[in-house]
Symmetry: C2
Subunit: 337 residues, 2 copies
């Protein structure tokens, strides 16, 4: 049986290394066809791993890395200078073909820069977008691009639409996924210069199921399976979605615990509330892939716990088994042949 | 006593004319220093008004308008051709000095275009931004610009910062309001070209209390009193805030009514929930002003009911009494003298 080799950044995120290691352990218990390489200070990580006595031997290996890239470090400089960091060493394993995928909950900027500089883009791909999945009333939508390469051009957005469609078709198993272009109205005459220049490209593309511009207001209701956007607007849409949900959750919690009566009510309503809100929990989707690279790079949320790390690992498995990169390569270069 | 004369578009929004008229009635009952002019089909509106027997005579007048601008109509064309619409006639009253303010829950595009074409901008103002207030964990923030004039330049954003500060200081009575620039990170090296070019202008401006870039994720938590942004990103931030809140409210409602036990819990928790969520109800703020015009133009939400219309009227009152336009004029032109 061919095994998928996944490098996990054991130093990345708020809950490293404990939750990262636990996530690896949970994933290894679920599937036989993965191997995990933990990148970070080897001695310390080995000791943590030794607490899990039932990990089959040979399924976890180590990539010793003595440096850590902080969230606040300028990404390009960090990637260039911290050659012994878990991110640089982990990405190098992917570049050299010694691993299939790299997952990190660390610095988004460093992962984006490192992914492009170290792993490199697939031939024909001009930009590698960061594409998180966001839960909606209809299931889940891919918001592409939410990364750091701002000020994109129309042809970049066209390639995001193609890559996003391949991802939704093959990883999420969504047939003929709809593609919407994020704008400030559903009418075609609305939008900025980029939207207006991108619209004809998306309409003419026979490889995607383009349904027109979508408003941000409709995105949480599942306006399109793939929501295409330039990274600055995409990042703002994503962060506003997260921020508003977090703010309202805190208001809800405060309200429900504010009086004796409300506490009793909350206790009664809790099972139904949990069940309802579980559908909108992004953790089961694991992380945001950086699409269009020669290997797979996944950015997990900085606050990821074991469940997110496990989901990210399983997402990488599907990504590799379905040969998403082969399909992206084909789709992106089809019209250029 | 000098009275503030406010034109209300009786044809605009989902609940026109009934809720518009009721809003006018509620406002007139509260304050003696306003007069309302209802724009729309006079005969029909007079009949509706006659249902309120206790409106003091002379405090409501009419501006007969036989046309209605639909939400879907291209705004520029609508403003040019529908000369007998409630929006064109209402804005003309403001332009000619026969009214101080115009409020409409109708087509945002037509109000924005009409405000600039008919009422006109204050001297020195290059763009008139739409500036809605959004409830946050710390109170309320002004998101400026969320309008239709996309692709702004750095000097426009600087003027938004100044106008927004004047508004928050004088209408919301916020002393020395903080100003943030919406970006994709709080670090100065993040952001798109516009953000990077705007940063030095905001930092150098002594008239505002600029605190740096803000992330969309922190906006619902009150990251800044005035959140400055180009209209495309601003509109996406605003609509994502609204859409996410609406989606989560529907999930909450479905969950709380899903089982007998949860229904009982919900009934017990309801008073506390209502009280908690009331703080985050945007209706008390009435509407979004279009700042920098020679008169006051307010866009009320399309779904506005009487309570929002009443709030918008009271907002206009403060705006006029505090001479916001005089203060904007002074602030905007200060550095050019």
């Amino acid at each position: 049986m061919e095994k998928i080799r996944i490098v996990l950044d054991a130093c990345g995120g708020d809950n490293a290394p404990d939750e990262i290691i636990r996530g690896a352990y949970e994933a290894l218990k679920t599937r036989d066809d993965i191997e995990i390489i933990l990148a970070g200070p080897e001695e310390e990580i080995r000791e943590k791993v030794s607490e899990y006595s039932d990990i089959p031997s040979g399924r976890i290996s180590y990539c010793n890395a003595t440096q850590v890239i902080d969230m606040a470090e300028p990404p390009v400089k960090a990637i260039r200078h911290k050659k012994d960091s878990s991110i640089v060493k982990g990405l190098t394993l992917v570049k050299e073909g010694n691993a299939d995928a790299f997952i990190s909950a660390g610095s988004t900027g460093a992962i984006l820069v490192g992914g492009q500089l170290i792993v490199g883009k697939l031939p024909g791909v001009k930009r590698a977008p960061l594409a998180p999945l966001i839960p909606t009333k209809k299931g889940v939508s891919l918001l592409i691009d939410c990364g750091a390469n701002v000020d994109a051009r129309p042809e970049h957005l066209l390639s995001f639409a193609k890559m996003g469609s391949v991802y939704m078709e093959n990883v999420l198993k969504k047939k003929n996924p709809t593609v919407g272009l994020l704008s400030i109205g559903t009418e075609e005459e609305k939008g900025n210069a980029l939207v207006k220049e991108t619209l004809p490209l998306l309409k003419e593309c026979s490889d995607i199921n383009f349904t027109g511009p979508v408003e941000a207001r409709d995105v949480p209701f599942g306006a399109a399976d793939v929501v295409v956007t330039e990274a600055f607007a995409g990042n703002i849409a994503l962060k506003m979605y997260e921020g508003t949900a977090k703010m309202l959750a805190s208001v809800l919690k405060e309200s429900l615990t504010s009086t004796t009566r409300s506490k009793l009510g909350a206790a009664l309503a809790l099972p139904a509330l949990k069940k309802g809100l579980k559908e909108y929990d992004a953790s089961k989707y694991g992380g945001a892939p950086l699409l269009g690279l020669k290997g797979l790079v996944v950015k997990a949320h900085g606050s990821s716990k074991a469940v997110e790390i496990k989901s990210a690992i399983l997402q990488c498995l599907t990504f590799s088994k379905e040969d998403i990169n082969g399909k992206i390569l084909e789709r992106i270069n089809k019209e250029e042949q």
